[in-house]
């Protein structure tokens, strides 16, 4: 979120100072209520002030991963379990109710794809903000109103008083998303989880919301976990990227590395699927087969049935291995180092 800093973000110094790590997730697993795993031993870290993108297609487990951080996977959906979940060094994998309330919406906030669904239609935006603020901070009503208004203003809402008094249905989609961002940031969280924050919005509004997130993130030194399927949005916002496929992280890299030299064939193929307006028009590209849903994962490398580079050896379970000297450069493909991606896209021939 803070952009490329002068000292390398991936450098060993910042990596090893534990106070720089805001959130550390170790072996997070989510099982659906049917017993089928949907997230499979996912581990990652988020540094203070950085924007980490978690990228994947439907059913890959990215949203369940995010909800697990807040212990908010609905019981009827499934159950999450992590070997360790540390927020600023403190174990929160099994927090008492009072601490969980402080974390949820306090230290970690979340915004969603559909801002209208995230707001209660029966209460004005202002009522919801004041209630949230007062449940997290010791504020008088009038102080909370003031703080809510300034949060709305900070979120780029010019007529903050009108929006404060409005019900969600009286606002446009873009205004609603600005209001949910204001609501999420009003309690001063350290981490914002943004789940497809611009997917439901028009392109002109998408640009504005992205600019808002970039600006607010920088200003507040906020860490952002961006959950999305859209690599163009990732390219605008993220510092570091995790690519998920079938419940596993298959690649982890700095933003530029993903776009200039992705290691996993899935990442390559996904990039090739994106049409670009500033390139000559090309035939639509795709990846053969279907996106596997939980319960349909193949054995061994889970991308193998769709992969243009599948070879004997891919039927073995793949480990997430480090590549190069940089820390945090990981790929789950034993062939990564040896594949020549030039010429073939790695997706559909």
């Amino acid at each position: 979120m803070t952009g490329r800093q002068p000292e390398p973000v991936s450098g060993k110094v910042s990596d090893r100072t534990s106070e720089n790590i805001l959130l550390e997730v170790t072996d997070l697993t989510v099982r659906l209520s049917s017993g089928v795993p949907a997230v499979d031993r996912v581990s990652f870290r988020i540094r203070r002030g950085e924007c980490l993108a978690l990228v994947g297609e439907s059913g890959c487990g990215k949203t369940l991963t995010a909800l697990s951080l807040l212990h908010s996977v609905p019981v009827e959906v499934g159950e999450s379990r992590a070997a360790s979940l540390k927020l600023a060094g403190r174990e929160i994998s099994n927090p008492p109710g009072s601490e969980l309330r402080e974390i949820r919406g306090g230290r970690i906030s979340m915004i969603f794809q559909d801002p209208r669904a995230a707001l209660d239609p029966l209460f004005t935006v202002g009522d919801q903000m004041v209630e949230t603020l007062r449940s997290h901070l010791p504020l008088s009503r009038s102080r909370a109103v003031q703080q809510a208004l300034s949060a709305l203003e900070e979120a780029g809402i010019a007529e903050c008083r009108r929006v404060f008094r409005s019900y969600p249905h009286q606002l446009s989609g873009g205004q609603c998303q600005r209001a949910t961002i204001a609501l999420a940031l009003s309690t001063g969280p350290e981490l914002l989880i943004a789940d497809e924050p611009t997917t439901a919005l028009d392109v002109t509004v998408q640009r504005q919301i992205l600019d808002l997130l970039i600006g607010l993130g920088r200003k507040k030194g906020l860490a952002v976990l961006l959950i999305t399927h859209n690599l163009s949005v990732v390219a605008q916002l993220a510092d570091r990227v995790l690519i998920m496929y079938a419940g596993q992280i298959v690649e982890s890299a700095q933003l530029e590395e993903i776009f200039s030299g992705a290691l996993h064939p899935y990442t390559r193929a996904l990039l090739d699927c994106l049409p670009a307006l500033d390139q000559p028009p090309a035939e639509p590209a795709s990846i053969p087969g279907t996106v596997p849903q939980p319960g349909e994962w193949p054995s061994g490398c889970r991308f193998r049935p769709r992969c243009a580079f599948a070879a004997p050896g891919c039927e073995k379970e793949q480990a997430l291995e480090a590549f190069g000297r940089e820390s945090g450069r990981l790929a789950r493909c034993w062939r990564s180092a040896g594949i020549d991606f030039t010429g073939s896209g790695g997706g559909a021939p």
């Binding site: 439907s58 996904l270 699927c273 028009p281 795709s286």
Partner: protein, 333 residues
């Protein structure tokens, strides 16, 4: 598009107004003009993309062209026949020539019907097929869209989103329509699957010689599939041009704004977007340019005169008083 070919589908002065519930309307008018005097022609075998943001009236236009909605004013003709003048029975026959593919492949298939039964319905009604010929046609259709004949016995829930969209496409093309309206057919699909469905649509369009109205908000996708592009803003056409022309020389400031907002799929932050005021900040009064108030090129006349589509370059139309008159300043930064 050859100038002498006759339009397959044509609408003139199309208007659709919806009455708003009292609460939603607020202090202003209780009527909402979703489509506001739209004239457009689709030629045989072409893919015309209709692009615009949510609420611009593009889906309503698609539904009006198929007469799934009745226009408040204006006419729609199909192969020269006025659809409003057809009897209910004649209209039903006509429907086999015009089909629709919807955005949501989960909502557009009946969950209680097997795929075979869903595909059989239009074939029974329009082609009166039954028995072996029906089964053969269904098997052939499934193969044409990249599925297998035995899939006919399965139910929609057994398929992925992309496969369901294939089934919906098979159903739409089953009766060899001359015209298909595809309303955001890939928007709800995964990125890795979208290309498969676009390719399928391109192939089918070629092999069946259909014309297609491709409704989308995604300009990058539109460029891959369309022959011509129509840009809609607030119920009106603001620009209409061959695809290559529109993407290389967009004329209307709104089109230029849309294009400048498309994110490139690679790092490198875009600067601040051009001066975009939110649409809700500018109430449209029913005359003048509907983009006035958001437009960086606005001149005084824009709030008085309603711009009509003018042919500024061959086959390239724009509804703007300023565009085409002089070189436009670069607003995309």
């Amino acid at each position: 598009m050859s100038a002498d070919s006759k339009p397959l589908v044509e609408c003139r002065g199309l208007v659709k107004t919806f009455r708003l519930p009292a609460l939603a309307a607020g202090p202003g008018s209780r009527e909402f003009r979703a489509v506001d005097g739209l004239s457009l022609a689709v030629y045989p075998g072409e893919t015309l993309a209709l692009v615009g943001e949510s609420g611009c009236g593009k889906s309503t236009t698609g539904r009006l062209l198929l007469r799934l909605e009745k226009p408040s004013a204006g006419t729609v003709t199909f192969e020269g026949r006025d659809l409003a003048a057809l009897s209910a029975a004649r209209l039903r026959t006509q429907r086999s020539r015009m089909q629709m593919i919807f955005q949501d492949p989960y909502g557009s298939l009946n969950p209680r019907l097997t795929v075979g039964a869903a595909l059989a319905e239009p074939l029974r009604i329009h082609w009166r097929l039954s028995g072996k010929s029906l089964r053969e046609r269904i098997a052939g259709l499934l193969e044409n869209v990249g599925l297998r004949p035995e899939h006919a016995r399965r139910y929609p829930h057994e398929f992925s989103g992309g496969q369901r969209q294939r089934i919906a496409i098979a159903r739409a093309v089953s009766v060899n329509p001359g015209f298909v309206v595809a309303d955001e057919p890939v928007s709800s699909l995964d990125i890795s699957i979208q290309g498969q469905i676009l390719k399928l649509l391109i192939e089918l369009k070629k092999s069946l010689g259909m014309a297609m109205l491709f409704i989308s908000h995604d300009l990058a996708v539109v460029r891959q599939i369309s022959d011509r592009v129509a840009v809609m803003y607030r119920g009106r056409l603001v620009e209409l041009a061959p695809a290559g022309e529109l993407f290389s020389r967009p004329l209307h400031p709104y089109t230029r704004l849309l294009l400048s907002c498309v994110l490139a799929p690679r790092p490198g932050r875009k600067g601040a977007p051009p001066d975009i005021r939110s649409p809700e900040a500018t109430g449209y009064r029913g005359f003048g340019c509907s983009f006035a108030g958001r437009c960086p090129l606005e001149i005084a006349a824009c709030t008085r005169e309603t711009p009509e589509l003018r042919e500024l370059y061959p086959d390239h139309y724009a509804a703007c008083l300023v565009a085409g008159g002089k070189p436009l300043p670069d607003i995309s930064r």
